[in-house]
């Protein structure tokens, strides 16, 4: 690929179709006997997305490798009939719903970090957080497996990406000084090794909590905090917007 940037200035590869050989990567992954987890939330109005997401993820996410899907939902009955591929597992974790989607979005970071600590770290080596309101349309494979992985938001490729990145409330813990950011990452798909994801979700939930105590809400909620974290803890691998395209655009 000569038409796109394939390496960041800190030498993290940016994954685009055509930049890698899935066969070589599969062989390396299998050699290490790894298990990867996916964590996703389906609360209230997001419950109808469960079926579409789970079917497509079961089919396309790390196909052929064992995957643990962790689904946090306030509607566990909706899930009981789902059939997964033999190497995959679905774990349904009931949660209470909260008023307003901003609230569940805020505590997602905290929930994930808590569960990593108490459970996920013992069950998976790598963990990815994905929004439920997506359908995978093509294979997402082991090219995503690395220590700290973030997806470049499709907003990066719009005429004024800095508009999305700018945080109008500089007192927020998520504020990034103008011109200092590298890329704008989406909170809809990120992950990495269980220890790196723990550090990230811990840091973000602490930032969110501090903002809350000061009565501030960062503009894009956990996405703003994610971007602030990744500015100072550079991802070891980036996924191109091919991996998550925002339908809003």
């Amino acid at each position: 690929r000569r038409d796109v940037l394939v390496l960041t200035p800190w030498l993290a590869p940016i994954v685009w179709e055509g930049t890698f050989s899935r066969d070589i990567l599969d062989a390396q992954y299998v050699q290490k006997n790894l298990v990867t987890g996916v964590v996703t939330f389906a609360v209230e109005k997001y419950v109808p997305f469960i079926e579409g997401f789970m079917r497509s993820a079961d089919k396309y996410f790390l196909a052929g490798h064992p995957v643990n899907f962790y689904l946090f939902t306030d509607n566990p009955e909706k899930v009981s009939h789902l059939q997964m591929a033999p190497e995959n597992h679905l774990f349904v974790i009931p949660v209470q719903n909260h008023s307003g989607w901003q609230d569940i979005s805020t505590s997602r970071m905290e929930i994930v970090s808590t569960y990593i600590h108490s459970r996920f770290q013992h069950e998976v080596d790598y963990l990815y957080s994905m929004d439920i309101n997506v359908q995978l349309l093509a294979h997402i494979g082991v090219e995503i497996i690395d220590a700290l992985v973030a997806t470049i938001s499709s907003w990066q490729f719009t005429p004024h990406p800095e508009d999305k990145a700018s945080e109008p409330r500089p007192e927020s813990q998520a504020a990034i000084p103008e011109g200092e950011w590298d890329f704008y990452y989406t909170a809809s798909f990120y992950g990495g090794s269980v220890s790196e994801v723990y550090k990230l979700t811990r840091a973000c939930s602490e930032g969110l909590m501090e903002d809350r105590e000061n009565g501030i809400e960062a503009r894009w909620q956990d996405e703003s905090h994610l971007n602030k974290y990744l500015l100072h803890h550079k991802p070891t691998r980036l996924l191109s917007p091919e991996y998550y395209w925002d339908a809003e655009l």
């Binding site: 390496l7 200035p9 030498l11 890698f20 070589i24 691998r237």
Partner: protein, 272 residues
């Protein structure tokens, strides 16, 4: 850089001038308080290269980081006392001299492996194994750090795979069949996390011994074994030939900066 390959098919970066920002890398690595080890072998007449190697390393290698030079030698008294920057020190490691230069070269793997197990694993986080008959001309910094790092041989980076001088005899443990192989890596530069270097040197030493038992010596000694190993255990980072250049070669446009290159010498004279 659009003119060269900067990422391998297994998503390992290939480090070229222009692909990285040294400041960003320094700000990520300096806070980790790392100590970087370097092994060089100065046996017999090769001790004459140490002074210039060290002088140039002091100027260009990992500036601002803690460094330990491990000089493996059969004549410690021939190693010059060098003035080093603060945070950097030199240690001589006594080793046996073998009768032939090929044997000396191949025994490096065993010596490095043993030394890692006994000493350097506790002193450094990253270790580079370099040839001593070479000199630094430009910065060699944290862009080179990685789990397992190999360098592309300057003579073969633009050459098709069929022409790589892999060991082609199937009786050798370093055998790579036609049609296989990613790159031709040079034996003069490799490195990585100290435990990865330990595993790597152990495996290479084992395959070298296997060949010895079968009365065979690989085409390019330990370099052949190194290439065999990196085919099945791919490096996590590659260094472009900027990091292992041959001054006898004319500089092509892809090489914007020569960082480390071989000293012109009379092979016959120095290997006796």
């Amino acid at each position: 850089r659009q003119d060269v390959l900067t990422v391998t098919p297994w998503l390992a970066p290939i480090v070229w001038e222009g692909t990285f920002n040294p400041e960003i890398l320094d700000s990520a690595y300096k806070p980790l308080n790392l100590t970087i080890g370097v092994t060089v072998f100065a046996v017999g007449k090769y001790t004459r290269f140490v002074r210039h190697f060290l002088q140039s390393a002091e100027q260009h290698f990992m500036r601002g980081y803690r460094v330990i030079y491990y000089i493996f030698t059969d004549s410690p008294e021939a190693i010059p006392q060098a003035q080093l920057q603060p945070g950097r020190r030199l240690v001589t490691v006594p080793i046996q001299k073998y009768p032939s230069w090929q044997e000396i070269s191949m025994r490096r793997m065993e010596a490095i492996n043993r030394h890692v197990a006994e000493v350097s694993h506790g002193e450094v986080q990253y270790l580079f194994c370099l040839d001593v008959d070479m000199v630094f001309h430009n910065p060699w910094g944290p862009e080179t750090l990685g789990d397992m790092v190999a360098a592309i041989h300057p003579g073969y980076f633009k050459v098709p795979r069929e022409q790589f001088p892999y060991e082609r005899r199937s009786s050798s443990a370093a055998f790579i069949p036609e049609g296989e192989g990613d790159f031709y890596y040079g034996g003069a530069v490799f490195g990585g996390l100290v435990r990865k270097v330990y595993e790597f040197t152990k495996t290479c030493h084992m395959t070298i011994l296997a060949d010895k038992a079968n009365g065979i010596m690989a085409a390019w000694q330990e370099e052949s074994h190194l290439n065999r190993h990196f085919l099945s255990h791919k490096p996590s980072k590659l260094l472009s030939p900027e990091y292992m250049w041959d001054d006898k070669k004319p500089k092509p446009p892809e090489i914007r900066l020569i960082r480390f290159s071989s000293v012109v010498k009379n092979y016959k004279e120095v290997r006796d």
